[in-house]
Amino acid sequence: MNPTHWSVRDASDSDALFPVTEAEMAKLHDRLAESAVEQALVDVAYRTVDSPIGPMLLAVTEKGLVRVAFENEGFDAVLEQLSARISPRVLEVPRRLDRVAQELDEYFAGSRRSFDIPLDYRLSGGFRQLVQRHLPQIEYGQTLTYKQVAELVGRPTAVRAVGTACATNPLPVVVPCHRVLRTDGGLGGYLGGLEAKSALLLLEKAA
């Protein structure tokens, strides 16, 4: 779903006869979002932001940031996944993500080296979550191999499973799976595409 699109046009001629503007709908949506947050009716709040590696979708629960998505994943599909996995009470509430958006801006500007926001790891289970919880220990500008991460989490033979955990990280950029490379120096996989992964590594090297 294009987040800014409203179905204000009807198949019939009711649009021509009974116009409703995008501005009117946007105002109503703002008011709905505000009341819904006040009444604790929003289980997943999201917004989209622009970044040097393309548009991103950010989603939070009451526990913290739960999803960071790239455009190539398809924002519609991501919202449907959140609806199915967490709750269908999904609403666009940009205000709830102001802080996350600001920290991301600072990160992309090179002035922030770690994120200071609560994280909700619920979209990953078991070993994957264990790996993802360890990733923030890799410092800004540093990289480890999948093998080294396997050793870090105490499962030195689980190199392939570490690769899967990194490739399915629901919180890319903030949980720095981009700092994990193949033993031969190859990039490995990345949810946002290899171009995004190398752009992040380059950014951290330059800063």
């Binding site: 779903m1 699109h5 409203w6 179905s7 204000v8 009807d10 019939s12 009711s14 021509a16 006869l17 009974f18 116009p19 409703v20 503007t21 501005a23 009117e24 709908m25 105002k27 109503l28 949506h29 008011r31 709905l32 009341s35 819904a36 009444q39 009716l41 929003v42 997943v44 999201y46 919202l79 449907e80 959140l82 609806s83 199915a84 709750s87 269908p88 009470r89 999904v90 609403l91 666009e92």
Partner: protein, 185 residues
């Protein structure tokens, strides 16, 4: 799987807003009703049955919320003169097409309701008839007559753009959000 609620708002928001305006006029009351409808829908969304007709459900909730708002308004019993001077806290509520919604408010009640529920809300003739205590045939006729009246008074008069401009409306004839005295919804 239940779709994300945001998609419900995007898909049905505008048509439910049209229904609210046809029921309550183009003022703050219609905005209040719309908010109440979608808050109630968000509250119930996880429990609503899969595969239901969401728009029809939203329209019937809109009817209930509009009734609540009209009752509260009548209870406040604000003298008509004061009501007319009142302005929407949201500024020019109907925008450029305010005049059109005033013309909707001026339609005979049967036509206005048939338009609201069937034409704008997408309910079937039979569903609309049930909601307003009429027959499917009468609903069909009333909706067609209502549309004809609106087209005559707005779209065939001068150019459509001119006709839709609120500024061109005869001053004082209707007020924003005016509802015919004693009208039902």
């Amino acid at each position: 799987m239940k779709e994300p609620f945001e998609q419900v708002v995007r898909r049905h928001g505008a048509s439910v807003f049209r229904v609210c305006r046809a029921l309550l006029g183009a003022g703050a009351d219609a905005e209040d009703a719309w908010s109440e409808v979608f808050l109630a829908a968000l509250r119930s969304w996880p429990e609503l049955p899969e595969g239901m007709n969401v728009e029809a459900w939203l329209v019937t909730v809109a009817k209930r919320k509009a009734i609540d708002i009209i009752r509260a308004r009548d209870r406040r019993a604000v003298p008509a003169a004061e009501l007319r001077e009142g302005h929407s806290p949201h500024g020019n509520p109907g925008g450029e097409h305010l005049g059109l919604w005033q013309a909707v408010a001026a339609l005979p009640e049967r036509q206005r309701l048939a338009l609201a529920y069937h034409y704008l809300g997408g309910l079937r003739h039979t569903e609309t008839a049930q909601l307003i205590g009429s027959t499917p045939d009468a609903v069909r006729r009333a909706a067609a007559d209502g549309l004809k009246t609106l087209r005559r008074s707005y779209h065939d008069r001068e150019s459509p753009a001119e006709a839709l401009r609120a500024d061109d409306m005869p001053a004082g004839r209707f007020d924003a959000g005016e509802r015919p005295e004693g009208a039902q919804i």
